[in-house]
Symmetry: C2
Subunit: 299 residues, 2 copies
């Protein structure tokens, strides 16, 4: 999806909050912010918001001379997630519909996002997991996904954040045994998005093939991805994409994709008649229908 | 006061909201926003936030080719204020401490600010006036101001927003008869700040001399003001400055000034230990004391 005018102040706020998370040198932050303002002033709004995020975080890393400013945040997120995983696996196994429960906890894990929400907030994070089984989620879409995983022979599962990965593993554990699973991550650090090493920390390499997409972009901007990743994307029977940045970069792609995400952006919420904070299971084709119903022509 | 890093995302948000209030051409807004981002990227943060607001609103007016984009907003604010003024004057006159009440309604009028708060919100506006007599305001400072107006021979009253002017008039009516009152406004439109014509609409010219400060800046950046205004500023026994932009441009000036404002900015709130939404009567010397108490050296 293209960026909107409303993305502009949001980019700027995110950039400052991200900078402040990793740096307390006001003069350096001023320099960084001014460079980022220039970058945004030249940004092509026909590109997706994660592509702007990519540019902003490249500047942050370069100016601060740190390859992975979110390393500590990611370690915390992994630690918190791993401390919960055994209890939640048991809880999932106790449910009458464990696949449904696993989908819910995978979406619950999407709270561990430090792009849109900069600061670590224990109560928000715990709230997301404690209410996972009660949160309204479209049960028809979960059933449709369940049918799809049974029909498919191979699935490409696109990761979002570190820590969330741990709960994605619980969902992968609920997939049928015959299914060949590839878990797609980023090639190098951007915000707290998962890379190959983070997938290993979550133990995903034990139950799936891990592949990086060749980029340092949030989401999955296909034009930037490696040939190997694009081949994997094209040949997958089924794609499950986690998180809002994957939603923003893939929602208009010409193939069926399942999106599992928490809605964090008021623009996306308005566009698709979601609420901010809503938990969504949807597909590219369902999203096209929402658009057609709402506008009659184009939105 | 200097601008802070936190002003940057706030400037950008205000610029977009202001643009959207007066224009629905997305392409023009994109052009305007990109120009404003460039402008902010070159901004000297040692200047005050209103000086950035001045630059932003100059760009908005120029690109949209409108001399006074807030004309309609100002007409609405005047109409609403004038519809209330007789009842509120009567209410003030009925109080045992009418000066105190008039100070409160003058601060209540400061809700009519469309710089920081872009959209007209009836409930917020009504709430401000309905709670004027109950709002916590430092009564010692009101008494100190009352003593000061009795001692002074001439007062310079610095206006903020259109509509608020109507309630400033009610406060001016409570000043002692001997006092020579000058009401300072902007030379030309910026946001919904009062100019000479707006002071006349409020009827202030009937009870005070109206003078413009020579600028199109929110607040009162003295270096930009006309010689005539600066002369008036220097020779005033007493200065009463309304609103946050006057606070931001005059809080460190080397003379006593009374500030009457609602606190709208989290940065100012943090710096002076106010709450956002608090109603403040303070002076330059009291502000210096707060700083000294809090930091020991400098903040």
């Amino acid at each position: 999806m293209r960026s909107s005018l409303e993305c502009i102040p949001c980019f700027v706020r995110q950039a400052l909050e991200a900078g402040q998370q990793v740096c307390d040198d006001e003069l350096l932050l001023e320099k960084v912010m001014k460079r980022i303002l220039c970058e945004i002033s030249g940004f092509d709004l026909s590109l997706s918001p994660p592509e702007m995020g990519q540019k902003i975080h490249r500047i942050l890393r370069e100016e601060m001379n740190v390859l992975d400013p979110y390393r500590q945040v990611k370690e915390n997120a992994s630690m918190v997630a791993l401390s919960m995983v055994d209890n939640i696996r048991q809880l999932i196994d106790e449910q009458t519909m464990p696949f449904d429960a696993a989908v819910r906890f995978s979406i619950a894990g999407n709270i561990l996002d430090f792009g849109l929400i900069s600061a670590w907030d224990d109560s928000k994070i715990m709230d997301s997991f404690q209410n996972a089984l009660e949160k309204p989620v479209d049960s028809k879409m979960i059933q449709q996904l369940k049918n799809a995983v049974h029909k498919a022979e191979n699935v490409l599962f696109l990761a979002d954040n570190v820590g969330e990965t741990v709960f994605d593993k619980l969902l992968i554990e609920q997939l049928p045994d015959h299914l060949d699973v590839t878990y797609g991550v980023k090639a190098s650090p951007v915000i707290n998005d998962a890379t190959e090493v983070d997938a290993v920390v979550a133990g995903i390499d034990k139950i799936a093939r891990v592949i990086n997409n060749g980029t340092d972009a949030p989401g999955t901007p296909l034009e930037q991805c490696s040939g190997r990743f694009k081949q994997c994307f094209r040949s997958a029977d089924l794609i499950i994409a986690k998180g809002q940045a994957n939603f923003e970069t893939l929602n208009e792609v010409g193939r069926e994709i399942y999106f599992l995400t928490q809605i964090k952006c008021p623009q996306i919420a308005r566009y698709y008649e979601y609420e901010v904070g809503e938990w969504v299971v949807t597909t590219t084709s369902e999203l096209r229908n929402i658009q057609v119903v709402e506008s009659g022509s184009e939105r």
